[in-house]
């Protein structure tokens, strides 16, 4: 995600580079606050909306907030790509592995096995 901003990467050894200004930070915080408000609104009107929409919406908002904090506050957008790659590696690994784990609990097909495919004789 931060890959596009290479021009922001420092070429000098000098300490750090163009940080966003404090004002940008405050702006970001306001965005975060608004997103949180939306989340809570969704929660309040949960019963008036389709369940799946609520769930999807909440998850989407969560991801967006995560991404904003990660890329601006944690500077991933401005830092070396190596860091983003490291972090995203851990993140994706965690998501994928645990997703598979949880689905193994869900899809365990207790009662209906496969149709008998008629085994070709492998003798």
């Amino acid at each position: 995600m931060a890959a596009t901003d290479t021009h922001l990467d420092h070429d000098t050894h000098d300490d750090h580079h163009d940080h966003p200004s404090d004002r940008t930070y405050v702006g970001i915080a306001i965005i975060l606050a608004v997103l949180t408000a939306v989340e809570i609104l969704m929660f309040i009107f949960e019963d008036d909306m389709p369940r799946n929409l609520v769930k999807l919406g909440l998850i989407a908002l969560m991801v967006v907030k995560f991404w904003i904090v990660g890329s601006w506050f944690m500077h991933l957008k401005f830092d070396s790509n190596v860091l983003s790659q490291l972090f995203v590696a851990g993140l994706i690994l965690a998501i994928v592995v645990y997703f598979i784990m949880l689905s193994a609990f869900e899809f365990n097909f207790w009662n209906d096995g496969f149709e008998d495919p008629g085994l070709p004789d492998i003798e």
Partner: protein
């Protein structure tokens, strides 16, 4: 001789020319060792919280043996938790402001923002302690059912992370009383900040997963 000989600072064995550029050692990645290590730690922590969150997801609906509630939402105090979540979220703002002040060599504001951040963190922890007490009073113990076990462990681990963060913030503020919190402390503050933001985004997930997303 001296330029051929590895110098003390050069444990890293990097390129000799970099020495003239004092104070900023060139590493292969251009990232300081400390920062790289911190990020490695954070990416490892993803798996840690991942395991806790998945355990919670697995046991999310398992509230057997429970005489206290119909569903968890009955005991949650969402406005309260929302507020404390919001406070934690905003502490991320004060944290970047602290870093930005330190990087400007603005020591006074740097300290103020760091202390604010720590304070907000403490408020959050206070809220969590309060919530735990309420739960206990309602009769929800650690071992009441798998839901409570998973809940207390997940939020508790997060609480421990926040508390460590508070110690780090306070350590930074008070540990530099003599030496000052000048620009050269930028990296220190940045590292504390990374940790702090991470703890914050973990809560973003926890808040949604535990409190907001409806069961069923």
């Amino acid at each position: 001789m001296s330029d051929a000989v590895l110098t003390p600072d050069d444990v890293a064995g990097h390129d000799v020319a970099a020495h003239d550029d004092h104070g900023h050692h060139e590493t292969n990645t251009g990232i300081s060792n400390n920062k790289l290590a911190m990020w490695l730690f954070l990416s490892s922590d993803c798996l840690l919280f991942g395991a806790l969150i998945s355990t919670f997801l697995l046991y999310r609906t398992n509230i057997s043996d429970n005489t206290v509630w119909e569903e968890p939402a009955d005991v949650f105090d969402i406005p309260f938790t929302s507020l404390s979540s919001f406070i934690l979220l905003m502490s991320s703002l004060t944290m970047v402001l602290a870093l930005s002040a330190v990087n400007r060599d603005d020591q006074r504001n740097g300290r103020i923002w760091l202390l604010t951040t720590a304070f907000l963190g403490m408020v959050f922890i206070g809220g969590q302690v309060y919530e735990f007490t309420v739960f206990r009073e309602e009769g929800l113990g650690f071992g009441t059912n798998t839901w409570t076990s998973a809940f207390f462990t997940l939020t508790g681990f997060h609480g421990v992370h926040v508390s460590v963060g508070i110690l780090l913030l306070l350590g930074t503020v008070f540990g530099t009383r003599k030496s000052g919190l000048g620009k050269e402390k930028g990296e220190t503050v940045e590292l504390v900040g990374l940790y702090w933001h991470f703890v914050d985004i973990v809560w973003v997930i926890i808040f949604t997963v535990i409190y907001l997303i409806p069961i069923g």
